[in-house]
């Protein structure tokens, strides 16, 4: 794993920072524009104002969840506790408030408190105790769903009017959730690209051994990725609770695969390293619009799931596998074997 992350760092260094960014960004933007053109030609209804107003809030939610997943992926991990984190925020926001606007603030604070706790535990398990990220977060996911049942018994409850207004209403004709998504994007981008802590975070993700050598506190940064991710999942869950009048207790289940897919599509290497927040948000819009396109032209649901999975494979294939290096290694190996064969013959 460490070797692989170093290989990726080498690639990023060879390509140069700006080049790597533009590759992921340009690919996803061009793909999105191509998709919009396809929509205009084959499914104009998917790009009407009404349709976008209906689907953009879900794109915003996916973008926020994707940004959380991106932070973890940057540290070479995977966060499989997305469904539990989002679902717990949804049920706390609806059940604790119980339709009463005055209890909403308490509910939101409680939800963030739980997210903080879950994030700290994830961070401790992965960064300090060096548990495999997939194993640790899948365990946390089960724990979070236990909490979901404890809070809700699995029963949905209608959201409060205030939360529906904050998350579900529109300002200047644009769904409020979109503004939340943009605000979080700005915050994540600023911290990651314009602060010392953010740059260290990326450097550690790219090459933790080197970062440790130069005296950076690798474990703290790695652990913080899980904490921040949970806080973002929580934000997404609270938004879902407002956007959907009566959300189920398992609302996060459908977000796991797309959360990884948008990170992969955005050009973030699944082996760790640099993050591309803007590309993640564009990828979330792309994936959401792809669903709307598929719905509009009547593609069956099964095909839509396959499309999501293919998007994930595409992202991994393009950005996370060092094809040139692999071919080079294979060629080298076969040449060596050939030489070895000649010598023994």
């Amino acid at each position: 794993m460490t070797q692989a992350r170093n290989v990726d760092t080498g690639k990023a260094m060879r390509m140069g920072g700006g080049m790597a960014l533009s590759k992921g960004f340009v690919t996803i933007v061009v793909s999105t524009i191509a998709l919009i053109v396809l929509c205009f030609i084959f499914a104009p209804s998917a790009v009407t104002a009404g349709s976008l107003m209906g689907s953009l809030p879900f794109a915003a939610v996916l973008a926020i969840v994707g940004l959380g997943q991106m932070l973890v992926v940057q540290q070479g991990g995977f966060d499989l506790s997305v469904p539990g984190g989002v679902s717990l925020a949804v049920v706390i926001a609806t059940h604790t408030a119980n339709g009463n606007d005055t209890l909403l603030l308490n509910a939101v604070l409680f939800a963030f408190g739980c997210a903080l706790l879950a994030g700290v535990l994830n961070g401790l398990m992965v960064a300090i105790f060096k548990l495999n990220a997939i194993v640790a977060t899948i365990g946390m996911n089960t724990l979070l769903f236990g909490a979901v049942f404890a809070v809700s018994g699995g029963v949905p409850r209608i959201t409060t009017d205030l939360l529906a207004e904050i998350a579900g209403a529109r300002t200047f004709g644009i769904p409020n959730s979109v503004f939340f998504g943009l605000a979080i994007l700005t915050l994540v981008s600023f911290v990651m690209k314009r602060t010392v802590a953010g740059r260290r975070f990326e450097a550690i993700g790219a090459n933790p051994q080197m970062a440790r050598t130069v005296g950076l506190r690798v474990e703290v940064y790695e652990g913080m990725a899980y904490v921040m991710a949970q806080l973002l999942y929580c934000t997404a869950g609270i938004l879902i609770a407002g956007i959907t009048r009566e959300p189920t207790a398992f609302q996060g289940n459908s977000l796991l695969l797309p959360s990884v897919a948008v990170v992969a599509l955005a050009g973030v290497s699944l082996l760790g390293g640099r993050g591309f927040p803007i590309s993640v948000v564009v990828a979330a819009f792309f994936l959401n619009q792809l669903s709307q396109f598929a719905l509009s032209i009547g593609i069956p649901y099964s095909a839509q799931t396959i499309v999501q999975a293919l998007a994930l494979v595409f992202g991994i294939g393009v950005y996370s596998i060092d094809w040139a290096g692999r071919f080079k290694n294979t060629n080298q190996r076969s040449t060596e074997e050939e030489n070895h064969g000649n010598q023994t013959a």
């Binding site: 499914a43 209804s45 998917a46 009407t48 009404g50 349709s51 107003m53 209906g54 689907s55 879900f58 059940h95 049942f149 809700s152 018994g153 699995g154 029963v155 949905p156 409850r157 209608i158 879902i240 956007i243 959907t244 009048r245 009566e246 959300p247 189920t248 207790a249 398992f250 609302q251 459908s254 669903s291 709307q292 719905l295 509009s296 009547g298 593609i299 069956p300 649901y301 099964s302």
Partner: protein, 354 residues
């Protein structure tokens, strides 16, 4: 002393009379499907984590309690985990429970466990979800719900309201689920070619998830200018999605579905602003389990077989005629209860945690 004896005698007489009356009353109340033999019964849910299942489990418990010869009642929740569901069935059979009523969410995956339980002399009654196999070989009896009849009820209402044909959007749960397919079959029996289904064949997939329903509906509304009727087999999942019509400045159309308190209250709050918003519902079917419990108890205790073999949901609300009921709403109770259920509304509210 005499007085005490007399008092004691009177008390004993009174007690005896009360007991006799009580026995007579309970004998009168004991349903015919409750036989003379003693038995134990277990209700095994493949997934118990939503309000529909919570109310259903209570309906099953209530029904079993009507038979005094059921000496013990067990409930197990498979929590959506097939292995756990199978383990629950095996465990109840190993304990020697006489009758198992099973909601086989995992379908044919639980059939081998049911067959083993059946072969170990337990009465096994899967209900509502088809688990494959055959009655008499793999289990005692399957108590299904007639989703075709649900479709026919919906089709009849649509035909009455739109005699010249209509554009229909049909939403169901996961792709290929048999419930949706049977409902479509029922509607097609009643509605001719002048009724056009706008959704992809056989229905628009929503997984009964409100947020996916919202996205599906957004796409459908943008695509079709003239949706006359939306048919859904889980009414409450529409509540979050219907406000999408406001994004398009259009009235919510006629809704044909199953009942739920949140949907009834939503209609109350919104129908005046949406002139096309009529509502027709059938009972949501939380009482299907009662028929399954009756069959299981009849087989296990030697009682009379119930008359019905299949559960049929009756029409429940009709906002146009008010027959059999006008739209029902208890806004003092949670949205996630079902006023069509045999379980009293206040009891449901307690169970789902008001």
């Amino acid at each position: 002393m005499e007085t005490r004896l007399l008092k004691g005698g009177v008390a004993a007489l009174a007690l005896g009379a009360a007991c006799t009356l009580g026995t007579a009353a309970s004998a009168q109340d004991t349903p015919s499907w409750c036989g003379a033999a003693k038995a134990t019964l277990a209700l095994l849910d493949g997934f118990g984590g939503n309000s529909w299942r919570i109310v259903t489990a209570e309906a099953g418990r209530e029904e079993a309690a009507r038979c005094p010869n059921i000496t013990e009642y067990f409930y197990a929740d498979g929590q959506g985990d097939t292995q756990r569901a199978i383990s629950d069935i095996n465990s109840m059979a190993a304990r020697g429970v006489d009758a198992l009523v099973v909601f086989g969410d995992a379908g044919p995956a639980v059939l081998p466990a049911l067959t083993n339980a059946y072969r170990s002399d337990a009465v096994v009654v899967p209900y509502r979800v088809n688990v494959g196999g055959e009655a008499g070989t793999n289990y005692t009896r399957f108590v299904g719900a007639s989703f075709v009849d649900d479709g026919i009820s919906w089709g009849n209402f649509i035909a009455e309201q739109f005699p010249d044909g209509a554009n229909i959007l049909f939403l169901s749960g996961p792709a290929g689920n048999s419930q949706g397919l049977q409902e479509l079959e029922g509607m097609r029996q009643v509605l001719d070619d002048s009724y056009v289904f706008l959704n992809p064949e056989p229905f628009a997939v929503t997984n009964w998830d409100p947020s996916l329903t919202q996205q599906v509906l957004s796409a459908a509304i943008a695509q079709h200018d003239n949706i006359d009727v939306i048919v859904s087999d889980f009414g409450p999942s529409l509540v979050g999605a219907l406000p999408v019509f406001e994004n398009f400045d259009r009235s919510i159309p006629t809704i044909v579905t199953s009942d739920g308190n949140s949907l009834g209250c939503f209609w109350n709050e919104n129908h005046e602003n949406h002139p096309d918003f009529d509502l027709f519902t059938i009972e949501t079917g939380t009482d299907n389990v009662r028929l399954a419990v009756q069959w299981a108890i009849a087989e296990a205790t030697g009682g009379e077989a119930p008359d019905a073999e299949v559960f049929i949901s009756s029409p429940f609300e009709n906002s146009v005629t008010g027959e059999p009921n006008p739209v029902q709403c208890r806004d003092d109770l949670p949205g996630a209860i079902y006023l069509s259920s045999g379980v009293p509304a206040d009891r449901q509210a307690e169970l789902v945690g008001n």
